[in-house]
Symmetry: C2
Subunit: 344 residues, 2 copies
DNA sequence: CTGAAAGCGCTTACAG
DNA sequence: CTGAAAGCGCTTACAG
């Protein structure tokens, strides 16, 4: 039986009923007598009929597909977020499709922003925000405002507190404050912070927490211990390398808090090149708890940001239609890369 | 202007033309006089009108959406494949959406396989195949045969040579033969192979190449050097641990070829626990060249399998409609984890 | 160059 | 419980 072309008309004809009736048994709506239901189901099975979600969407105005925008999928974290979202969406009969970051940031000669997004008539959009320069942030907000007219939006990740959308965001300042506190508890006084952006004005940004942590511990703030960089391993390596190179060894930090595990990996590399033993000479704290964290040397102590959970929760929030702003969950994962400052 | 509801009718009314004309300027088909074209474009801009891809698909029978099925996205490799595919698809005005592995393998109480896939009226499907037990392989083939009636399919990854679909597959036996050869060149004679499946009958499977490599070097095949496992770091750790525990140290291998970098990471962990120094006591060769390979200790020598390229090529092959079977590209990336057998 | 009309595959009031 | 009909937002022959 050539099933690739069956439509609801074929089924109706086969079962000797109208297409309305077929539709009813398909959706389990309205009422259908047991006998005709049986006939229709038999016809469906015989034709191996699969109703077109496209045509259904045409009528119902729903596509059952959600859009997701991530800075990049190459960072394994984003893959986790996507997986979490995708799985949750499947449970709710939705699909999630990924759109490129540039479709909302719109650089140079990009296509009109958002047009693909809107064409596809998505039921909603999840945008993961992170590390934006002021101009990027401006353009993003413009695009979001436009998109908002067409579909509900949920923001996740490191979302500045002045963005006004349903959001699930990491309490970054808290995380960093506690990170400092953890290292202080291990006896560290020279604690560096590598990564993050200096330009954003959000009060929840990472270095606000870093500064708060230092203050809380009555530690002085040393400008050369705070270096900004983006989130790759190369960035991290260059950043720590630069810091170590410009400082007399006596002033080298004994601990560094890295923006994320990628940066932490780069820091390890830089430390190694400068002859530092880890963790004795230098403790390193990462963030994200990448799958490879346990396999680094030393095994990386990190902050698990439960990315899969974040993705799943984003879908739930989006589908709920609520306007809430919530905090994402996180927790320390203690391994071997952070030890007492007096371990050496 | 409330643009969220504009349809082609609104534009037509606004411009004082028929919807057919609007459609023509939208698609650049047929011919339209410059003036009416201008009028229509003005109306489109004023309404900020975005034609519905859904409705367009309704007529054209195309969804411009491709499906992709990966064993799991959590392995960063798969994220690379997906990214490569997604980027290439975007260039060709297509979207790619991810479907869960179980939708084609159909385990226990799963929904009827393929039904979501077919409902969505995909323009094509890319399936990444890997490490299948015979039963899984059987079920997969059944599902593929069914799906094939509805949409073109391309297979990628480690595809048994007896699968009869357009395919881009790694020449695994070749890769492994050359891996052995590389280690032999470094003076190794006790070379272990960890990973892969023993059940598949494909002649391109990894251990065929491993055996061929040994033979070529006139090295004996030692059964205890070949241990099967799945592809996670835990699997790799358990596998090498088991091997080392069951062998007298004098018989320990001096080099191990790991199924992939995850397994290699696990092997490193196991080696460390058994007091082996790397690379002096044990060389390790990975496969996939994960982003973290350079940051392991020692930096992992690996086989780069160019996953992003694979994803992009899969899209091209799928959209070309050709029935070819091609080999995926790969290359050695030499770092520090493989050294001369006499280095100690 | 342009419009009226049919059709894509469904769903959903509205009658009966 | 069931069917005829309108409608979802487009595209594409077919006339003119």
């Amino acid at each position: 039986m050539n099933n690739s072309g069956s439509t609801i008309y074929d089924i109706a004809a086969e079962a000797g009923v109208s297409i309305a009736t077929v539709s009813r048994v398909l959706r389990g709506s309205g009422s259908v007598s047991p006998e005709t239901k049986k006939k229709v189901e038999a016809a469906i099975a015989r034709h191996n009929y699969h109703p077109s979600a496209i045509a259904q969407g045409m009528t119902s105005k729903k596509t059952y597909t959600l859009g997701m925008i991530l800075p990049k999928l190459l960072n394994p974290n984003y893959a986790m977020i996507f997986t979490g979202a995708n799985d949750e969406a499947r449970r709710r009969e939705h699909l999630v499709t990924l759109f490129p970051w540039r479709s909302i940031i719109r650089e140079d000669g990009d296509a009109p922003p958002a047009s693909t997004l809107v064409n596809r008539r998505l039921d909603g959009l999840i945008v993961c925000v992170e590390y934006l320069s002021p101009e990027q942030s401006g353009r993003l907000q413009t695009t979001l405002k436009e998109l908002r007219q067409y579909m509900p939006i949920v923001l996740i990740g490191c979302v500045p507190s002045y963005y006004n959308y349903p959001t699930i965001s990491y309490p970054m300042a808290d995380m960093m404050r506690q990170a400092v506190s953890y290292l202080v508890g291990l006896g560290h006084e020279k604690i560096a912070f590598i990564g993050g952006t200096e330009e954003d004005q959000d009060e929840q940004r990472r270095d606000v927490g870093y500064l708060a942590g230092l203050k809380e511990a009555h530690l002085p703030y040393t400008a050369s211990y705070r270096v900004f960089c983006r989130g790759t391993a190369e960035d991290g390596e260059a950043a720590l390398d630069g810091m170590l190179s410009s400082l007399m060894p006596a002033y080298w930090p004994t601990a560094v808090i890295a923006l994320n595990d990628l940066v932490a990996m780069g820091c390890m590399e830089a430390a190694r090149k400068h002859g530092l033993r880890m963790p004795e000479d230098l403790s390193i704290l990462g963030c994200d708890n990448l799958f490879c964290a346990p396999y680094l040397s030393p095994a990386l102590t990190s902050i698990d940001t439960r990315q899969q959970e974040l993705g799943a929760n984003a879908v739930r929030l989006l589908l709920s239609g609520e306007e809430r702003r919530e905090n994402a969950a996180w927790e320390f994962v203690i391994r071997e890369s952070c030890v007492s400052a007096h371990a050496k």
